[in-house]
Each structure stands twice: as C-alpha cells, then as structure tokens.
Symmetry: C2
Subunit: 241 residues, 2 copies
DNA sequence: CGAATAGTGTCTCTCAGACATTATTGG
DNA sequence: CCAATAATGTCTGAGAGACACTATTCG
C-alpha cells in the first residue's frame, strides 16, 4: 500500500466506503437430493423473492466470525463446515446502497439441515436442480416443493451456482463430502452424496475401490440397522476433519 | 438479508464499517523461475518490509475494476490475466485500522514482467522459492537477488502462499499457464512454466501427449529462431482465452 | 427359498511414467 | 561428423468402467 493510500486511508471517515456483508449458501441433502436453505423476503427490495441468509460484518469481527454469527442467528445452526467462496462486488447488486458481500459455503449433514428447517428461523428448503452438463456445470435452479423454479433476490442465483460448482470441484480431492454425512455412514451413502452433487451416476466397484484405497475411511465394525436386506458396513473418517 | 439488517444498513453512516481494499499478487517468470513484483514500504507501518501493490476500493468501482486500476496505477501494467483469489479479514492485519482486503492474482508473461520492472513504478522482483512438498504445498519464500528471504509486510506472506497454491491447483485443468507465456511458444517453454510453478520436473513425452491431446494448441507452422540446434515448433492457443 | 442390496473378482481400456530411438538444426 | 535438443515409438503398470458373480440379511 502506497503513501497516498496511507494518507487517504488513515482517517476512517475520509471517504465513503462500500458496506461489507457476508452471505451464506447453506447446502445439504433433502431426501437424497441437494438442497439449499433460503429466506423469503418480505420487504423491499426484492420482496417475495428468496434470499441467502446474510448480515453485515462488524468492525470487531473477522469474516469467518461474521459467517458463524449469521449461521447461528439467522439459521439457528451451531456448527457446520464453513468455507469462504468468493466476494461479490458489482455496483448494483443491491439497489439500496453499495454492498460488497463475501459469500460463504456452509455444508450441513442431512440431520442438521432438517433441524434448521424445523427451528425458529423462517427458513425454507429449495431442492437444487443440478444437471450434469459437463464439468463446467450448467445453470443451477432452486425449486419449490412443487418443482417450480424460485426467483432469487439480488445476485444470489450467481452465488448459488458458484457454490455448487465449487462443491463439485472439491468433491473428489477433498473431504467436503463428509461434511454432508453423519459421523458414521455406509459407502452407499457416500456414493449417493457424490452422485447427488455431481448430478450423474457413478460406477459402484470403482467408487468403492477409490474411496477405500485413499485410506481416509475406517470401518467401525458395526453395520447399519433397520434394513430388510443385507446391512452395509458403517465407516467413519479415519483422520479428523 | 433480514428486516433488521435492512433498517440498520439503510443509512450509510449508521455504523462504522471496515475499509475495503484490493491487493495484487503480480506473478511472472524471471529467468525461468517464478517471481513476484513487490513494493518496498518507506512509511510506517512495516517500513522497510515488502508489500503487494494495493489500493482502496472506490464507492463507484467494482472489485475487478479496482484491481485493474491498481494494476495500471501502481504497476504500470495495462493488461494481465486477473482473477480474484481470496478475501482476507483478520482484525489486526493492518495496525492502522480495520482493513478487509480482496486479494487478486495477476499473471504476467515474462516480457510484461520485465517491462513492469523497468517502468516508473518502484517495483522490485522477488524470486519465489517453491519447494515441491506434495500437493498441499509447503512454505513459499520470496527471495532477494542475493537469495536472502525478504520480510513481507502485513499478512502478505499468507496471500502470496495462497496465490502459489491456487496457481498450482489450476495449472493442469485450466489455461492459466498460457497467461505466463507469450502468444507463440514452444512445448518446451510450456513445460518449463509448469515445472517452475510446480517446483518439480515432469516427464516430457507424457507432458506433450497430454497437452496436444487436449486440443487447445494449434501449431503455427513456424519454428523458433536463434537456436544452435533443432528449432522447436511454435504453438498458439487454438481457442481464445 | 426369494427379494433386495452389499460387496468382490476379473477383463479391458485408457493414460501416465520410463526409456530408448529417430529427426533436425548449427557448426 | 558432433553436439544438442526436438519429437516420437513402445513397454509397463496403475487405475477406472463394465459386468458378472458371490454374500448376507429379512421374511
């Protein structure tokens, strides 16, 4: 940062600044399909449209802390995998004033996702339509329970699309998939998560080999219960996330 | 964004905000080794340390435009591959006040890199020491011309390390490598770029096959000049970047 | 035993690494 | 011809897809 910046920036009120916010893409699985938690806007602007939960960044709070606070206050969720996604800074993304928003991706296991829906926050779940459309990914649509596309507020459709892309990209080289699963899970559940996010079926033996050869999984020795067929072995992550 | 946010946020002066800046990691190649352009700080704080060029984001300018402006004003570079890297928001990253910074990665062909060094801006080049250390990447050190590690200002060492990681990660599935090359280049030059960024040698036949099979390269029909041995075919990118 | 799903064995195809070989330039 | 590097051919081993087969549970 140069001399001029130093002088210009030293007085906090020297010139007007963009407001800074965080927006959260709360992704989880709903009946085996990828879904996102949204808030219906009742006020202008974009009243009646659906928005990602968000909030302004306090002067005394880091970006990560602001995201955690929004997760807690707006979604009633205590803990989730949170990672910074991208920062959106178009001039007209909010008609009220200039707001730059740091988007975060939050991954919820199916259970947390359902609990957030049942909690006090007026959240709704939108199923995501994620057609395969090659690696680069096509459009991502958020659907109502009746399968109709929802109108999203602001630039939140862009944020959502980027979230799905990021998740897809990290799926096979990172451990993000496990953030969408309970602590113990079967290989079939793990494959279902991958298939739901990718929007394409995968080869079973190859998938199992790849996952087991990676060495991240540890068999628990117990098996799933309540099936009317051969129960599958339960695994957990060998190394802590 | 909720009702409360709406009311709290509507008055632009309602509560203090973090300042918002962009910082640029200007990466290029110097004698075949990865290098970064830095400014030596003359003023407090961190006087004498080396910093990434940066500047505040104006109210009427997008993040990308702010990055382009810094590229132009602070580095004298008209055009470069620019992509957003990550947003840094630690509370104490700048001792003067709370500044949140959106870091950008700028990739320069060897020629632009040299021109920026010779230009009016008081930039210096630091060679990067990028040991292989596996995919996750070890520490990245910026070295002076005498090979001594440079002390970086603020959290700029973190930003630099992340820039190298991102570049490595995108090397083989994106076309970023071509942003470091002139418009026409040989396959050997392309391989040199990959090896410099990855910090590890690559297998020649396999590398050639992979690059040619990808279909991105178009032979120009001309060959490099000035060699005392068999000159290599010159290629260019088939599809526009 | 039948239904349903878990889990495995095996063949093939693709692709990367390794190494050797041929091709082409200047001197 | 020699030196130096470009460019290619070929063998091998790792890993994914496809498909069939065996295993285990409930009823």
């Amino acid at each position: 940062m140069s001399e001029a910046d130093f002088l210009a920036g030293y007085d906090p009120a020297a010139f007007p600044r963009p407001a800074l916010a965080v927006d959260l893409v709360l992704l989880g699985l709903r009946d085996g399909r990828p879904a996102v938690l949204l808030l219906e806007r009742s006020q202008h602007p974009h009243a009646g449209r659906w928005a990602l939960p968000g909030g302004f960044v306090g002067l005394d709070e880091t970006l990560d802390k602001a995201a955690e606070r929004v997760l807690r206050e707006k979604a009633g969720i205590a803990l989730a995998h949170l990672e910074q996604l991208y920062t959106f800074g178009a001039l007209d993304r909010d008609p009220r004033m200039r707001i730059v928003s740091v988007a975060y991706l939050a991954l919820l296991p199916e259970r947390s996702f359902a609990e957030a829906l049942d909690g006090e926050a007026p959240l709704a779940a939108a199923i995501l339509d994620v057609p395969w459309a090659g690696e680069t990914g096509g459009p991502v649509a958020a659907l109502s329970r009746r399968g109709e596309p929802l109108a999203l507020a602001f630039d939140h459709a862009d944020i959502l699309a980027l979230a799905v892309l990021r998740l897809r990209g990290k799926l096979d080289y990172s451990d993000v998939a496990f953030a969408l699963l309970p602590e113990q899970f079967t290989l079939r559940q793990l494959q279902d998560v991958h298939e739901a996010i990718l929007g394409t079926p995968l080869n079973k033996p190859a998938f199992r080999r790849r996952m087991l050869d990676r060495g991240w999984l540890k068999p628990t020795g117990t098996r799933e219960a309540g099936t009317s067929f051969r129960p599958a072995e339960l695994y957990r992550l060998a190394r802590p996330r």
